[in-house]
Amino acid sequence: MCLATPGQIISIEGDDALSRRGQVRFGEAVRDACLAFVPEAKEGNYVLVHAGVAIAVLREDAAARALDLLGQIE
């Protein structure tokens, strides 16, 4: 139940911190998500969404580093 799905923010609305929300694309599907807890998120960013609420902005630099490491395993 603690699964969270990565999706890309395609639009953001609401400027009050706690009512910030937006449209997030997951593959083919687009869903509304609460963005209150990712104040730093911008359009185009990937966020991790759980139960309709974004809980993190995914860090592209860390992802690239992890994949790089995976590529180096012999």
């Binding site: 139940m1 969270a4 759980h50 139960a51 309709g52 609420v53 809980i55 993190a56 860090r59 395993i73």
Partner: protein, 364 residues
């Protein structure tokens, strides 16, 4: 899908498994705490890639599984009232209480609705002011922000007809309970990535130090899990016991501080009961006085009742990593996903259900 597909490459998985085989010199028992990881391990056959000397045991990290029977009975009591719309995540509605489940109640006329997010339950409350709308706020720390936001929104919108039946559980006290059991076999942990996305990683260092266990915060895709295991085995072989973060793309040490700010306002830490395990001190959340008016247990004046689990079920031992599902005499016989006896057969993320679904498929 980006941030998913890259972590499912079978060739890289083989290489990681090979790397584990190279470093391992003795038997080790490692627990993945989270039910989502258990599900991925069984689904992708990760145990089969590992050397025999690395044994995985499955932890208590499925909030559906550990929600006490009494709580489900309370949900049923509320849901069957005429003036109530009862909202829940999909995986809770099949969980049997001591007499029935929510789906059964719905078939008999109760207004039980499955929602994707607790925020939908708040919208339903706004649209149905003549009804009491109750959300079954089940979850670990990962679900805390969504549940807290729902209660907070109801308060700011002045929705007097919304309340939450809260069954929130916390992971670090469960790890502590497992490690302090005298017969524990667990030597290392994969900690649940998304729990740490929200709460950060600082709660784990004292546990790693106190019990001398490596704890690797790990993601949910096959390569995440294999890499988490590699780092855990490496620590064990080098006699280290530290907190490491495999899941850096989603977890930082401090966690999500914006979410934590609301969590601290909405929830306070309480002792709670875990289905199959029993009471664990300071292992759950209840609403703070500021939000108490939204507590469904108080609103409907529900009392605690003593109910007991089927005797044959060993799910408490399965949840603590002491037994495997197949050790249970009822597994796949009296107990199966469409007629579950215990906590761990109920949810798709429970160890018994995961074994039932994928092991049987592969054996066929």
């Amino acid at each position: 899908m980006k941030h998913v597909d890259e972590y499912r490459d079978p060739h890289a998985a083989q290489k990681l498994a090979q790397a584990i085989r190279k470093v391992v010199t003795q038997r080790w028992t490692i627990m993945e705490v989270c039910g989502g990881q258990t599900h991925a391990i069984v689904r992708f056959g990760i145990q089969d890639l590992l050397p025999d000397s690395v044994e995985l045991v499955h932890g208590p990290g499925c909030p559906v599984c550990v929600t006490p029977l009494e709580m489900i009975d309370k949900a049923l009591e509320i849901a069957t009232r005429d003036d109530v719309i009862f909202c829940s995540f999909g995986d809770m509605v099949r969980v049997p209480g001591s007499r029935a489940d929510l789906l059964g109640a719905r078939a008999r006329g109760a207004d039980v609705r499955i929602v994707y997010t607790p925020l939908d339950a708040v919208r339903i409350a706004a649209d149905n002011r003549d009804k009491q709308v109750v959300f079954f706020a089940v979850g670990f720390e990962t679900t805390g922000p969504a549940n807290a936001m729902a209660v907070h929104m109801a308060k700011t919108q002045g929705l007097r007809n919304f309340s939450a039946l809260v069954s929130q559980a916390l992971v670090p006290p469960a790890i502590e309970a497992i490690m302090s059991a005298p017969d524990t076999r667990v030597q290392g942990f994969l900690a649940a990535g998304h729990v740490c996305t929200v709460m950060g990683t600082h709660a784990y260092a004292p546990l790693a130090a106190k019990y001398g266990v490596p704890i690797v915060v790990t993601g949910f895709e096959p390569l995440d899990i294999l890499q988490g295991l590699y780092r855990c085995v490496l620590q064990l072989e080098q006699r280290r016991a530290q907190v490491e973060n495999q899941y850096e793309r989603a977890v930082c040490e401090a966690g999500n501080t914006a979410a934590q700010a609301l969590l601290e306002r909405v929830f306070r830490v309480v002792t709670r009961k875990w289905r199959g395990i029993g009471e664990i001190g300071e292992s759950g959340w209840a609403l703070t006085p500021e939000y108490e008016a939204f507590d469904a247990e108080k609103r409907f004046g529900l009392a605690d009742a003593e109910v007991s689990e089927p005797e044959i079920c060993i799910s408490g031992l399965v949840l603590q990593g002491l037994k495997k599902p197949a050790d249970c005499p009822a597994f796949g016989k009296q107990c199966a996903p469409d007629h579950p006896l215990g906590a761990t057969m109920v949810s798709g993320e429970g160890a018994c259900a995961a074994y039932y679904r994928y092991r049987r498929k592969r054996a066929a």
